[in-house]
Amino acid sequence: MERQSRSLLYRLILIAGLFLLASWQLYPSFNLSRLIQKQEVNFSRAQAIANVRIKDIKDALLEGNLESTILKALKDSSDDKDAREIAKKIVELDDKISKNEKRAIKRGLDLQGGTFLVYEVDFVHYLSNPNVAKNPDTQLQQLLEEIDYEAKHQDLDFFDVLQPKFEEKGVPLTRYFGKKGESDRKIISNLRDESENAIDRALQVLRNRIDQFGVSEPSITKQGSRRIVVELAGILDVNRAKSVIGKTAQLEFKLLRDAEYTRSILMRIDQVVKQRRYGTLDSTALAEVMAPDTTKKDSSEIEEKVRDEKEVDLDELFGSTPETEDMGEGDTSLSVDKEMFEENPFLAMLGNVGNMIAAPKQNMKAIDIILNYPETKEIIPDESEFLWASKPERYGDKDWYRLYFVKKTAEITGDYIEDANVNIAGEASSSSMTGAGAAEVLLELNSRGAKDFARITGANVGKYLAIVLDNKVSSAPQIRERIPNGRSSITGMRDINEAKDLVVVLRAGALPARLESIEERTVGPSLGRDSIQKGQYSALIGLLIVIIFMVIYYKLSGLVADLALVLNIVFVMAILAAAHATLTLPGVAGIILTIGMAVDANVLIFERTREEIRSGKTIRVAIDSGYGRAFTTILDANVTTLLTALVLYQFGTGPIQGFAVTLSIGIIASMFTAIVVTRFVFDFVTNRWEVKKLSI
């Protein structure tokens, strides 16, 4: 008896201790909603005092200049003692809230609203960049694309495919990578390290960018060998965030090829297109166009001349080829110069804007296809390339994009940027904020960049210098004189926000490689709120029904099982809070499912105990063997469920992992509550009182 009561006491201490620990873990989660409510009251008071929008208050809070914001809004018109006080209160409470938040159960993106983005590093772009490869050319580009395709479609590691592919094509790795005489193995392992490094740098750049963007608690993680997962909670303008994150922000200054040279290249391409159309190469026509052009040398004249346009279907140009089918439905028509189309099909697709070559938007895809013909690629020298303008210009009833022909190697890159700032050009008309070209970004290069810039501008006066951002030309001003101070600007922003975002990415630095968005999941805040509400609602009803049912079926013993069930939920939540795990909607479903399944262990025990009682055993013995015999069953049944939960965790992403986690925690916690806690109650009662008949 003595030993029995001591064991009871120990068990009581264990259970009570765990319960206290759980309550302590859960307190911040409960406290949080109370604090947030209080903060809302503060917000509306601040709004009333200083007439500031709540959104502005929140922004100011994030930036840490709340008091000055509120005081500024007041403009000394009312009592600033009140204002100071409320600002202080808000800041203090905010501090408390964030402290509680750190210890509370984290809500997943699907419950609080937010966005989940997966990016894949573009290895083709990375490895064909002149910083990594020696003299990259179209052959390298092609090889890398093939490798990338194979790696992606056969789920292989990019670098495992790289070496065999080069060998297969008979291209020595050393032509593009590594030092002369270096072994392939060494080169591959170096490339692997470098790309690993590049991804780490990309993570850092993304972190910097998102920090400047002001999102609370962003999560940026690497997944596998070439993926980056970005999770942003509670963000409203997802598109803006995406444009900031996904932008490579590779800024380059490239010299334009001179007009005469550009024209000769274009004409040769024109012949390629014509040959493709008619099947033969008309040599006299070629000679004609290759000769110095006399008919339309004055480009400004062409600009003013109204183009006699007609619409042709794509098929008319290409015939029905796979390329045209790739272009999808919808815009399959081209706008061409009617007179020129038969003789010069390619040139007919182009026109002039100002003194530059340009094309209507609807022609761009076709032109890209033409520029990628193998024959065309042979015509375009390796050290030159065509680039599109980043923004259209409106002429007549069409949006035109300029097409620039530039030197491929950049004169200067964005690596030399010291600082970037937004400037609003022509402040005079304040309503022009949204007008094109109203906002510009001023660039300041560091001393080394400034030196280079001075040298280059000095050597190329009169030429045009294209400012290229992510392979799109934002502008190409003429160099009028040597620029000594390393200052330049990017113009053509759509609005001030775009300029601001560009400043953010330029300051944070360029990504070492292009990122391709491959997955995006966004949940609006209202859906998240609904989900929480409905989840709580379902959980409560479910819990209530199960509790009532157990009491009806097992009477007082059912009540004991109910105690275990409630305790089980408390423990699950406490473990989630302690582990700072994220509760997702499937996670809530997992908890609800646990409610149904947690009583299983008690049902097994009680059924067994009933059987033992029926076979005439005393209460004590019946309880003993009920627990004893049910235990192996419970163990086996739960271990197998845990196994599937484990697989689920391994396989799943975000939300599904949340489900696996709550389910597993629920199972483990239910083993404790259903076996240890209920057993304690039974032992306690039978030890205390002479129980003749068990209420079961």
Partner: protein
């Protein structure tokens, strides 16, 4: 209170009938899977799905007209029960440009008198889709293998096979029902499948455990009687637990909201099928094995 008094139902004797029913269900499901195929969601096919909530009820036809005008007439549009919520599924596009922006812009322009809010958006690249599909199948197979190993270790290989056959049965029937009713298979539904596996197994193990125990005690009994006895003894527990779990899932199904709707539907089906299979499929498979091996040994080898 006791609903189930000492029953003595001959479950094993009805195994042929049960088998027939199951085979019919599975065949219907497989035929539907072959003809219609599973209705994969964007998680597995790639593409974009947009969930929009309008201020007023919307006309699906009107939305379709707007989408057709921008060349997206083949999109799938589904109306939610509430009437002013829609799910639009856009096919995977070849171009990288974000079609959902185009769709949202167009809808905003055209439906000026009925504002809407973007409730959720999912965009999955085509490669990710096939990757997830492969991962899902892998996950289900791995968990089956793990279960096979664990049960072989704790019980016997025969039992493991019985359990896994029952699990295949559950997943096939649920999959068939999903295909038959054109329900979308998303990542969450795969999670539901794995949960069904876990749940059904739980049930099966309880019965097996009793069989294992009774095989030791009732050495002289016929196998069929031992198995029947065990199923009957655990019947009240099986039904009770299934009932409580079923109740909470049904509540989740009705009140859990749209996001969790199909997930809980899969669980509803799974619990019914899982409970059935642990009685009528798992144990009969083991019994059949016992009987056949006994027959081979010429009746004398009643030893285990």
């Amino acid at each position: 209170m006791r609903i189930i008094k000492d029953t003595n139902i001959n479950f094993i004797g009805k195994r042929k009938i049960a088998l027939t029913i199951s085979v019919i269900l599975i065949v219907i499901g497989i035929v539907s899977l072959i003809i219609k195929g599973p209705n994969y969601g964007v998680d597995f096919t790639g593409g974009t799905s947009l969930q929009l909530q309008f201020e007023k009820p919307v006309n699906v036809g009107e939305i379709r007209t707007i989408l057709s005008a921008i060349g997206l007439g083949n999109s799938e549009i589904k109306e939610f029960a509430t009437g002013n919520e829609l799910l639009i599924r856009l096919q995977q596009q070849d171009t990288m440009e974000d079609v959902s922006e185009k769709v949202l812009g167009e809808l905003t322009n055209q439906l000026t008198d009925n504002k809407f809010e973007l409730r959720s958006k999912e965009t999955v690249g085509p490669r990710i889709g096939s990757e997830l599909r492969r991962d899902a199948i892998k996950a289900i197979l791995i968990s089956l293998v793990l279960i096979l190993l664990y049960i072989s270790w704790r019980f016997e290989f025969k039992f493991a096979v019985g359990a896994v056959v029952a699990l295949f049965h559950d997943v096939l029937i649920t999959l068939g029902i999903f295909s038959l009713f054109d329900l979308e298979i998303s990542l969450a539904v795969v999670a539901a499948f794995l949960t069904i596996i876990g749940y059904s197994l739980n049930d099966t193990i309880v019965v097996f455990d009793r069989i294992r125990e009774n095989l030791k005690v009732m050495r002289r009994e016929e196998y069929i009687n031992i198995f029947n006895r065990s199923i009957n003894q655990t019947l009240s527990r099986t039904l009770l637990t299934s009932l409580t779990t079923f109740v909470v899932i049904i509540i989740l199904f009705f009140f859990g909201g749209e996001v969790i709707h199909i997930f809980s539907f899969a669980l509803v089906i799974g619990i019914i099928v899982g409970t059935y299979s642990s009685i009528f499929i798992a144990s009969p498979v083991v019994v059949e094995w016992y009987l056949r091996s006994e027959f081979k040994k010429g009746k004398s080898g009643a030893s285990r």
